[in-house]
């Protein structure tokens, strides 16, 4: 059970949060300009890395804010947490 440091609320138990998949996949600004393949890439394709992964998390049962997390999926170490819109930390 992770202890997650919500950037708005501080450390809270994992059960207050919801994982939201891979981070930094921006919704295309002009979807109609995209081919089926390009749209499918945005819509369906996710990396699912073993190792350091950038993820979105939501403090669903707390402040309801979304934020980003850098997590090593091989040992669940949370390496960094930063707000939406902020630049990911250098690796």
């Amino acid at each position: 059970m992770f202890l997650i440091n919500c950037p708005y609320c501080g450390e809270r138990d994992q059960q207050e949060f919801k994982a939201g998949g891979e981070a930094h996949i921006e919704r295309p600004k002009q979807p109609t300009e995209l081919s089926d393949d390009e749209w499918a890439e945005y819509l369906f394709m996710r990396k699912n890395i073993k190792g350091v992964q950038f993820e979105r998390w939501n403090h669903a049962h707390g402040c309801r804010k979304w934020f980003n997390m850098v997590r090593d999926t091989s040992n669940d170490e949370i390496k960094a947490i930063y707000k939406m819109g902020e630049k990911p930390p250098a690796q």
Binding site: M1, F2, L3, D13, K18, G20, E26, R27, P28, Q30, P31, T32, L34, D36, W39, A40, L43, R56, N58, A60, R64, K65, W66, N75, D76, E77, M84, G85
Partner: protein
């Protein structure tokens, strides 16, 4: 007459407090402080159970939670009965009853014992190999296998006890209150760390408080005396909480641990009532100090499982702590010095020790010399090759070990005995450590797996960290405490320790016999009857991974999870396969460390607290009026209101007719309501709904369809514009929370530039939906001064008004196709509003209707229910709702996906109406639809999604999704059922009032 084997008074046993208890129906006596195991041993009862597979007689083997054999059914036949309880952990109390498991008719005479003699026919994998064929026989096999499987009996009545959960936060959690744990907790607390010390036993001090080796000294005192003084001092330390009878079950990442605190299991029945039996502590600790100790290993030799064969350390504990001798003619079998301490303990109490069999060539430690001086015969370089005694050990045979330890030589010596203590060295209890995700490393010299790579703030101290002698325990504990707590000095700095040095080691995982291995029974896992022979067979059959060998042989898969024999299993695999143990690794230690009761896991979440449910403000009225309820998400919604013993069908037919003929009323409070405000609210709605919102006038309502980014219908509902920058959105009952979550996601992550604020107000409003041709007259009675003319208050519009002095919001919207109003008031006035409507509607025979009638009425109109007529694979085009998809808007959620090659296929499943040729046959929802009857296999074209008998149309109607259904209008299809084929015709899904004339009726 049973023998009394009490040997001396012990300060932990209250001999003035005599307790009687029953075991297998017979009454015995023990004292306050005894465990069931110690009390039985004091009565010379060793035979307590039968093994799982061969039903071999088994006795008490240990004194702790690692016990594999002495597992009993506590209080059988009562509502507090519990199976698979370790006798070594049950504290006795007046009236306790316990019985053996896995035996019939009794532990003394067990029919299943035949398996022992048939054991050559039950090798590893027997069940896998034997019951594979013929496949059709599996059902017959299964009956017998299931019958003979399982250990204890689960209770059949409701558990009368209370269980509890508690969240605990601390700076330092210390697991285990042996010498290391006590000193760690003491020093942490003294340095202002909020400290919690948990201990699974009822007494603090671990094995040190009954340590008897006179050659070990701390500050010139016996370690037990020294530690008792330290324990006494704990009482005066602030910041320190101590919980005994508390066993850590799981150690998760980020120092989150679950522990079970046992509060009443040791009390008499009369003292158990109305108290919390067990409490699950959910502990989040900044730092964890594991001081879990070590488990003594047995030795693996032929017939090493007879009642009377025990761990040497257990014999010592029974003698020193409980004051019980486990036998009158004792022998020890060892590969290290600790058996000598047990022998001296018995010797000092005048109990006969016949001999010590030691596989080492010699040892020069002081304790060994003392044993020699006591005249106890020591057989160096010898091994036990066999034992005898079916229900109780009566002799052992020993032979000289070869130099390489792989065979025995010379002549066989037989020694008569009734108790054998085995000492195979110590295994650090690293279970919790590895559960935390931390990694182990094999120490070749000590032959143990030790903590190596920590993943959280934790240290392992004492013997679970690999330190077995008091001097190294103190020294390493001191340094680790300083490092982890960041302190400069501790109470341990000035301690002087003297110890008796052990100076020789020999480790043989599987001891040889004079018989070939195939003719021996060297048990590795006592509970599951896995022998060294089985492990070797698994290797011969090609299993290589330790995890596979474990599952194939069931080694380590009992309730004890192989706490005793797992290391031997690994050792035997490594030796046989010729690999290093470090490379082999261990099996995964999974939680719980010791079994938990279901009660502890669920805590207070039982009965009506099992799951959350929500009720509307009008709920009491529904209950008083005998409504039947259905679950919709977490809500309890009124389903239908039967009167005079009506069936559901009769009630729904009556309600449906009344709603169309005069007036009906529905509790619509459960619909999700989201308040949307901000200068970009209109733009936001444009992006989340498929249709256009910018031009919606203030005071008007509009139906919206929300898609997922993949183009599939996600939710629907009516949204009303309350002001320039203010909307109220309604969602489906079940979808409310998810819709809010999804909208927040887009707002925060994709469109942070939008000035929009979302608030869930579902619970803030109660909603009554008035419908039917007389609804207008009823509303007029309730709010006489509101102009209800079509000009002032047309369909799809909104008015703010007052009922008396209560503010209300009224939407003229309709889910039934009738003229209708949804009246919203502050939730606390919900029941008043409802009763007012009912009162006002009396002269119009206003009929309350539930969700079933609502579903029927909307189906007559062909309105979809998201989640019933859609399933996450339906686009608006599939639903024939093209009209709601804006062609002009540049973008909205899911728009691009509507133009993917797959979503544009003509032969997708599309929503259509279905009419049965016989108007009285009502189709089953979920029934399959085909176009051919004489084909096999036949292509499934789709299925029925909604189906009702319409009382207003006097015929059966259905909605269905059918492949290419859009172009099938009028086509004849079939719904094949078990006994008949139903002929149907594809129809327009709007069955009733196609021109929407009734909305303004």
């Amino acid at each position: 007459m049973t023998k009394n084997l009490r040997v001396k008074s012990s300060e932990y046993i209250d001999e003035t407090n005599r307790i009687s208890f029953k075991f297998n129906g017979k009454t015995y006596h023990g004292f306050k402080g005894d465990t069931l195991a110690s009390a039985l041993l004091a009565n010379d009862v060793h035979l307590v159970g039968r093994s799982f597979k061969y039903h071999r007689p088994r006795g008490i083997m240990t004194s702790g939670s690692e016990e594999p054999n002495a597992i009993v059914q506590v209080n059988p036949g009562t509502n507090r009965t519990e199976p698979n309880v370790r006798a070594t952990e049950v504290e006795i109390y007046e009236g306790l009853e316990a019985s053996s498991q896995n035996c019939w008719p009794s532990v003394e005479f067990d029919i299943g014992g035949i398996n022992n003699f048939l054991s050559p026919f039950f090798p590893a994998g027997f069940y896998y190999k034997t019951f594979m064929w013929p496949a059709s026989f599996w059902e017959k096999y299964e009956f017998f296998i299931r019958h003979s499987a399982g250990l204890g009996k689960s209770p059949t009545t409701t558990d009368p006890d209370i269980y509890d959960h508690r969240n605990v936060h601390c700076d330092v959690l210390v697991v285990g209150a042996g010498i290391s744990g006590i000193m760690a907790a003491k020093n942490a607390a003294k340095n202002n760390f909020k400290t919690l010390l948990v201990e699974e036993k009822n007494e603090l001090g671990g094995s040190t408080i009954y340590e008897n080796n006179e050659f070990n000294k701390i500050d010139n005192k016996a370690p037990s005396e020294w530690l008792k003084k330290e324990i006494e001092e704990l009482k005066n330390i602030k910041n320190l909480e101590i919980k005994t009878r508390t066993s850590v079950a799981a150690y998760h990442q980020y120092n989150y641990l679950l522990a079970r605190e046992n509060l009443t299991d040791h009390l008499e029945a009369k003292d158990k009532t109305n108290k919390i039996r067990q409490r699950l502590l959910k502990i989040r600790a900044k730092k964890v100090i594991l001081a879990a100790g070590a488990l003594e290993r047995p030795l693996i030799f032929n017939n090493n499982d007879r009642p009377g064969i025990m761990l040497s350390s257990a014999i010592k504990k029974y003698s020193e702590f409980y004051g019980v001798a486990c036998g009158s003619k004792n022998v020890f079998f060892t590969n290290n010095d600790s058996a000598y301490e047990s022998a001296i303990s018995l010797y000092n109490k005048g109990i006969n020790v016949e001999a010590i069999i030691d596989i080492r060539e010699q040892s020069e430690s002081k304790i060994v010399k003392k044993v020699k001086e006591a005249g106890i015969k020591i057989y160096w370089s010898h091994s036990i090759v066999d034992t005898t005694g079916y229900k109780r050990l009566n002799s052992i045979s020993i032979m000289k070990l070869s130099n390489d330890g792989t065979s025995v030589t010379g002549s066989k010596i037989s020694i008569s005995c009734d108790c054998l203590g085995v000492a195979g060295g110590w295994t650090p209890a690293v279970h919790l450590y590895t559960q935390s995700g931390s990694k182990l490393k094999f120490d070749e010299e000590k032959k143990v797996f030790l903590p190596n790579q920590n993943t959280s703030e934790q240290i392992s101290v004492g013997s679970c960290g690999g330190d077995f002698k008091i001097d190294e325990i103190i020294k390493n504990l001191n340094q680790k405490l300083k490092d982890t707590l960041n302190i400069n000095e501790t109470d341990l700095d000035s301690i002087k320790v003297e110890i008796d040095q052990e100076n020789s080691k020999r480790n043989i995982w599987l001891l040889p016999s004079d018989k070939p291995i195939g003719k021996t029974k060297p048990f590795v896992d006592y509970q599951n009857d896995a022998t060294a022979k089985d492990i070797k067979l698994a290797l011969r059959e090609g299993f290589k991974s330790i995890e596979h060998v474990k599952r194939y042989t069931t080694t380590g898969m009992g309730t004890d999870q192989g706490k005793l024999g797992n290391m031997h299993a690994l050792g035997i695999i490594a030796d046989t396969a010729g690999v290093k143990m470090g490379e082999l690794g261990t099996t995964t230690f999974r939680p719980p460390y010791t079994p938990l009761t279901f009660g502890t896991i669920v805590g207070r979440n039982v009965g009506k607290f099992f799951d959350i449910f929500r009720r509307t403000p009008m709920n009491d009225w529904h209950v008083e009026n005998k409504a039947k309820f259905e679950n919709v998400g977490q809500w309890k919604r009124a389903w239908y209101y039967p009167i005079n013993g009506e069936t559901m069908h009769q009630a729904v037919q009556r309600e449906s007719k009344a709603a169309r003929e005069s007036a009906g009323i529905l509790d619509a409070s459960t619909l999700g309501k989201i308040d949307i405000q901000g200068s970009d609210a209109s733009e936001f709605l444009n992006r989340v709904y498929t249709n256009a919102w910018s031009k919606l006038a203030i005071g008007k309502c509009r139906y919206g369809l929300m898609l997922n980014e993949d183009g599939m219908v996600y939710d629907d509902g009516v949204t009303t514009r309350l002001g320039e920058n203010h909307y109220i959105m309604t969602t489906t009952t079940g979808g409310a929370a998810n819709v809010l979550g999804k909208l927040e996601d887009y707002l925060q992550t994709e469109w942070p530039e939008l000035d929009v604020y979302l608030t869930s107000v579902t619970d803030h409003y109660a909603t009554a939906s008035l419908c039917g041709p007389n609804s207008k007259k009823i509303l007029k009675k309730i709010i006489p001064d509101l102009d209800l003319s079509d000009e002032n208050f047309p369909h799809m519009s909104f008015k703010e008004s007052k009922i008396g002095n209560i503010q209300c919001r009224i939407m003229r919207i309709s889910f039934t196709g009738e003229h209708s109003y949804e009246i919203n008031v502050q939730a606390s006035y919900g029941k008043d509003l409802w009763e007012k409507c009912i009162e006002a509607g009396k002269e119009f025979n206003i009929t309350p209707y539930g969700t079933e009638t609502m579903h029927l009425l909307r189906a007559e109109k062909g309105f979809i229910i998201v989640g019933q007529d859609t399933d996450g694979t339906m686009t608006p085009i599939d639903l024939q709702m093209d009209w709601i998809v804006s062609k002009k808007k540049y973008d909205f959620i899911g728009k691009r996906s509507l133009y993917r090659s797959d979503t544009m296929r003509e032969d997708r499943k599309q929503l259509v109406g279905l009419l049965t040729d016989d108007p009285n046959i009502v189709l089953e929802e979920g029934a399959q639809i085909v176009s051919e009857l004489n084909q096999s296999p036949v292509e499934m074209l789709g299925h029925v999604t909604s189906s009702y008998f319409s009382p207003n149309l006097k015929k059966s109607i259905a909605l269905a999704v059918v492949r290419g259904g859009k172009d099938m209008m009028g086509k004849k299809l079939f719904v094949p059922m078990e006994n008949k084929n139903i002929n149907v015709t594809v129809a327009n899904p709007v069955f009733y009032d196609e021109k929407n004339e009734r909305l303004n009726a």
